[in-house]
């Protein structure tokens, strides 16, 4: 089972929930920090990490002597990664989406496969948990191609083991967020009940609903904000899987890089219950599928 912990708004507690859920998980587990623009799960799970492996994307390289200036590549590129300035072909590798089309249409073999660094992937272990994280190169504009490579590594580990996976997703509802929830069996949306939190929660719910995956909600800092989110979830039949109280002891533990499931017995129980409800959610949806 792959579980993705996501949210519309940032700072709702995705990593807090991921880290706590991971520590109470009672089956073989891999956790993946897919928030590659700002990974921080390692700050709470303290994994022992291996050395980083660089990830690359194929981009064209020009052999100017072979270029006849036919312009086929310029016409093909939809991203302005290749431009013909008067009669000089110029490449902008930062703009390239890596489709390889320019290399394919170059009759003179003036364009060949070069590469652009996307980021670094690190693997390790946090106790019994397999840990995987990606860190996007600073200045890299597109995270999904890199996230795909982190996910490939995740799938590779899954082939060798029979694990569950918890993915810590980036916030938002754009390509990186979709890229991180698309493979999951269950989506856990973390939100707070503030007007901002509720607004962005709705965006996330609307964006992920078409994927047809079971979704549940964790309300963080429960007690803050309004009842709108509760009313909305009741109306739309979205299960509220857990509520994490708004409590100073949680903020203190977080600021020290501690997992909040270990702060008190009560909090530990919240996450054990969350674990079971996620399993129920996955099982229920499996039944629905088999009925259909």
């Amino acid at each position: 089972m792959i579980i993705t912990v996501a949210s519309g708004k940032g700072g709702t507690g995705k990593t807090t929930v991921t880290a706590s859920l991971a520590t109470v998980w009672d089956a073989p587990l891999q956790v993946v920090d897919l928030d590659v623009e700002e990974p921080n799960l390692h700050l709470f799970l303290w994994p022992e990490l291996g050395s980083p492996a660089k990830a690359w994307m194929e981009v064209p390289e020009l052999d100017a002597e072979k270029c006849t200036g036919c312009g086929n590549c310029v016409e093909l590129c939809q991203f302005k990664a290749i431009s013909m300035m008067l009669s000089t072909l110029t490449l902008y590798p930062d703009m390239c989406h890596g489709c390889g089309g320019c290399i394919a249409v170059c009759r003179e073999n003036a364009l060949q496969a070069g590469r652009r660094e996307l980021g670094e992937i690190r693997q390790g272990r946090a106790g019994k948990i397999d840990f995987l994280m990606g860190t996007l190169r600073i200045g890299e504009a597109m995270s999904p191609p890199f996230m795909e490579q982190v996910k490939k590594q995740m799938q590779q580990t899954l082939l060798e083991t029979n694990q569950d996976v918890i993915i810590d997703a980036p916030p938002g509802v754009s390509c990186p967020a979709i890229c991180s929830v698309i493979d999951s069996d269950v989506i856990v949306l973390v939100t707070d009940a503030t007007p901002f939190g509720f607004h962005d929660f709705k965006l996330a719910w609307e964006s992920f609903s078409p994927l047809g995956k079971p979704m549940g909600v964790v309300i963080n800092r429960a007690g803050l904000g309004t009842r709108d989110i509760y009313d909305f979830c009741k109306k739309k039949n979205i299960p509220i899987l857990a509520e994490i109280p708004f409590d100073r002891s949680i903020a203190e533990a977080y600021s020290r890089g501690r997992v909040i499931a270990g702060v008190s017995d009560e909090l530990g129980t919240v996450f054990v219950s969350l674990r079971e409800k996620i399993r129920d959610l996955a099982a229920d949806s499996g039944k629905e599928v088999s009925h259909a």
């Binding site: 300035m85 110029t90 703009m95």
Partner: protein, 117 residues
């Protein structure tokens, strides 16, 4: 120096310089020998998801301009213009196209050696 392109919000010499280069609404290309100006629409670049600066640089080059005056030019647009040997005068915002051209003719707009955005 014969032809100069100035990014412009609207089609006349008395309209404001568009401070954006890549996503400029258009540009006025003036022949400094005949003092004839023509307007070239650049609206298509405004809807591009990326590469607007490079596209606009191509448009300016195709129009035959040797100098560009604008407010802010980004690094990729600057590189593209440099490749074509087109010189860049920046920080020409908050003035009309006519004022920018007059300032340029008086030598009050220096050519930039690097982008200001």
């Amino acid at each position: 120096m014969k032809k100069i392109a100035v990014t412009s919000e609207d089609p006349t010499l008395d309209d404001q310089v568009d401070p954006r280069f890549g996503r400029a609404g258009g540009f006025l290309v003036m022949d400094l020998e005949t003092m004839e100006a023509r307007y070239i629409d650049n609206g298509a670049s405004q809807t591009m998801s990326q590469g607007a600066g490079i596209q606009t640089a191509e448009n300016v080059a195709k129009a035959g301009a040797e100098v560009v005056l604008s407010g802010y030019v980004g690094p990729k647009a600057f590189q593209a213009l440099a490749t074509a040997g087109i010189k860049v005068g920046q920080d020409c915002d908050n003035m009309t196209v006519r004022e920018a051209i007059e300032k340029f003719q008086k030598g009050e707009i220096p050519f930039a050696d690097k982008p200001n955005r």
